[in-house]
Symmetry: C2
Subunit: 145 residues, 2 copies
DNA sequence: CTAATCCCTATCAATATGGTATGATTTACT
DNA sequence: AGTAAATCATACCATATTGATAGGGATTAG
């Protein structure tokens, strides 16, 4: 029940990009990886996932970089995690009902999974990257360095 | 962000045991594995985890088996999952604050993790094995076989 | 005594994770 | 035109986890 670094690193990168959105700035992978202490090549792969999901757009070539393809208040954490991790489902059977599991209908745990998933999704879908960026900025002001 | 079969199988076994609790019955690993279609040896290891956490108690020897060591309404899903998976934390930094991560205090994602974890735990701690067993039974009545 | 059961540990294949490396392509700038 | 900076696309790899199998010992009801 762990969230992998894929989700964590990628989300942090998105928040970082969100702080740059209003000033119309771009961030390169080099900048992002430096600001967050993440390996360049690894981050490259994560950004590729975000790009495939149309959450960021790239400008290639020298002086290129990435920026959010939508305003940060229109990007939910759920979307980001889904792009990075494939799905936010705790258990497969909650989204793809009964493909691989043959006793879904008589599963003792299914009601719990559904309830749990519902609560998780409600948080993920109601929180935007803008919210996180705001939290981040006020946090930084209180505790610089 | 997946829950492994460890947690799923183990939890289902606990619910199975809960249905037997009132009639003071025991269930052997052979019975449990048969009723749920899980490998005997694998289930054995999961039950060992539950035993170590004092959630079930065993009687050894012929005609032995397992039963819950407490009434099912006093066992929360959270306890069970913690015993099986080690922790229910989505991200390490939410319980062991700042042991491995050196920028906890300036992490853009931390407020989100805390909020998310809070919601998850509230479900896990307020749901008992008894609740799940009840759900299971009524579900079975509606849809026998 | 014996069969049934818990108990314990070693092993293993498959997959996911987290990361490195390398080279090709595109493009701004001089 | 040339070059440096950047994205893009793969291939590779070490390690850990997962999900299981196997085998044998210890305990106990009948």
């Amino acid at each position: 029940m762990k969230l992998s670094t894929k989700g964590r690193y990628g989300l942090k990168a998105m928040v970082d990009l969100a702080t740059e959105y209003d000033s119309d700035g771009k961030l390169s992978i080099a900048q992002l990886s430096e600001r967050q202490g993440i390996s360049y090549s690894y981050l490259e792969q994560l950004i590729a996932l975000l790009k495939k999901a149309h959450l960021v757009s790239a400008s290639r070539g020298a002086a290129g970089g990435y920026r959010l393809s939508r305003p940060p208040e229109q990007i939910t954490v759920g979307e980001v995690l889904k792009a990075l991790e494939g799905s936010t489902a705790l258990v497969e059977c909650v989204d793809t009902c009964g493909t691989d599991c043959d006793n879904v209908c008589s599963c003792a745990a299914r009601p719990l999974w559904l309830k749990l998933q519902q609560r998780i999704d409600s948080v993920l879908e109601s929180t935007t990257i803008r919210d996180m960026a705001n939290d981040y900025i006020t946090q930084k002001e209180r505790n610089p360095k």
